[in-house]
């Protein structure tokens, strides 16, 4: 029996070794290094000398860092709650349909989510094109003056936020549909017998039962949008990236364009801490929801 147990441990070791090796190499080691070089003046590649908390102290009155932080939070504000609401409305509409029609309509809403960000960017860059974009024709019909959306400081973030909602809503819709499917139809039948109006049914039955899923969707969105980079980078190409600075972009700019690995790492650590704090909060929330369900 003892021999069995020892061989059990050996087998387990063999099974987890490949994963563990990759995990240590691409997760643990880079994380430790990130913290370490954030206290040095290292360039992107190469050693630097110890600077203590200098890099962090400098963030405090770094206008570009402030702008990056502010724009990231602004982007979160523009995407998280509006995106979740739009997804919820769509999911409620889709859940009423059945069979092939439902599959088709869901596919139309879901397809953007499956596409690479660069394809989404090219599609919307074309749709929003100042001269030839179809969205500008719509503005013409409405009698509104055309807006060079991606070149305008005011409209850049809202436009990129809209494109992001369009791109990622499919995922949230899927989660909401899964949540809606767990609500027993008997409850709705009982509500119909009681002559409950559509709005009352939603407010008293659907919404309370969907609350755990909504919390999940909101926090997933929140964490995702804090890490915004791709769309902002792509839409800023040939424009003024400094006006649209976000946190990951700032890490990229400091490290890869200004060759300041240490200062970039300090920004990266800030982002890291921000995301971990939000994630811990999410985890607690889910555990709380789980306990309430039992």
């Amino acid at each position: 029996m003892l021999k069995d147990r020892r061989s059990d441990i050996l087998v387990a070791l063999v099974l987890i070794a490949p994963f563990l090796a990759i995990y240590l190499l691409v997760f643990v080691y880079p994380t430790i290094q990130m913290f370490r070089i954030s206290f040095t003046d290292a360039p992107l590649i190469g050693a630097g000398s110890w600077k203590g908390i200098d890099n962090y102290a400098r963030l405090d009155n770094d206008p570009m860092f402030r702008r990056a932080l502010w724009n990231t939070l602004y982007f979160v504000l523009l995407t998280v709650i509006p995106g979740t609401l739009i997804a919820l409305l769509i999911a409620l509409g889709v859940s009423r349909l059945a069979g092939r029609l439902q599959a088709l309509v869901l596919a139309l809403f879901f397809l953007p989510y499956i596409l690479p960000v660069s394809v989404v960017y090219l599609l919307w860059d074309w749709t929003l094109n100042f001269q030839f974009g179809i969205a500008m024709h719509v503005l013409d019909w409405l009698g509104i003056a055309r807006i060079p959306v991606t070149k305008s400081a005011t409209w850049f973030m809202p436009a990129v936020a809209w494109v992001t909602i369009w791109w990622t809503a499919g995922f949230s819709i899927l989660l909401f549909l899964a949540g809606l499917r767990t609500i027993p139809t008997e409850i709705y039948e009982a509500a119909a017998l009681d002559n409950a109006s559509r709005w009352t049914t939603f407010r008293k039955i659907t919404w309370p039962l969907l609350r755990p899923v909504s919390a999940l969707v909101l926090t997933i969105q929140l964490i995702l949008q804090l890490k915004i980079f791709d769309q902002v980078y792509l839409f800023s190409q040939g424009g003024r990236p400094n006006d649209n600075m976000v946190l990951v972009y700032y890490v990229f700019q400091r490290a890869f364009q200004q060759n300041q690995g240490g200062r970039a790492a300090a920004v990266a650590v800030t982002l890291f801490v921000l995301v971990v704090v939000v994630s811990v909060f999410q985890f607690q929330l889910l555990r709380f929801a789980e306990r309430r369900r039992q």
Partner: protein, 280 residues
Amino acid sequence: MNATAARTWNVWGGLITLATIACAVVWAFPLYWGVVSSLKPEDEVVRPYIELWPETLTFQHYVHAIFATQIGAWYLNSVVVALGVTVICVFTSMLCGYAISQLRFPGRTALWWLILASFMVPTQALIINHFVLVAQLGLLNTWAGIMLPQLIHPVIIIVYKQFFDQVPRDFREAAVMDNASEFAILFKVYLPMNWGVTTALSIVCFIWTWNAFLWPFLAVTKTEMMTVTVGITQVNDAFGIYYARELAAAVLAGLPVALAYLFFQRRVTEAITLSAGIKG
């Protein structure tokens, strides 16, 4: 419910259904518009009015994209990287998920917490040190370099563990009685019983890797080593802007994942819901 109330209820229901369908059409319109524009000659694309169907249907932009750009090389890079990541990631996650689910060994709980904790790590924050690591290994501008930091999706382990946990103990006990080794049990009992989840996870892992932008964008500086996702946004025609050509390239880049989704719709949606921690 009286008859009038029932009728208004139905009218409202019908209107909501119609509105949903109308929204879906509008929602997907930019996709349609991109494809249609890529099939028009360049002079039709820039006409000042809207034509929902090309006057002259042309594939010249696709011919251009395939023969005059490096999209073929980018395709190859994307396929190799996405397949490589999918095979390595799904395989190592399956082994690890099995060990955590079925074997008792010291450090098992700690490992499980390590995996759960890694959910929180934003890989975007690690780009600097991923770059340093891959540069030190001499892997910049190589397939291996693009793959390395993408080899971990903790969620795949978690899903595998949940599925292996659900396999009835009788199967395991019967195999142990037959003196089967752990490897035999995994590959002959547990894996065949979970082909569905393996397929689903492989498809989404492939899609995630195909779509990855930030890391492939940083790890590659030579145009011939780019993945499709990066290449189509980084290489522009030297003279002027050709909208239809760009859109043709975009359609080509999106096609494999769009088709993967349309063919395996149920599997993809299942895996994505699972990956969010909801049991389907």
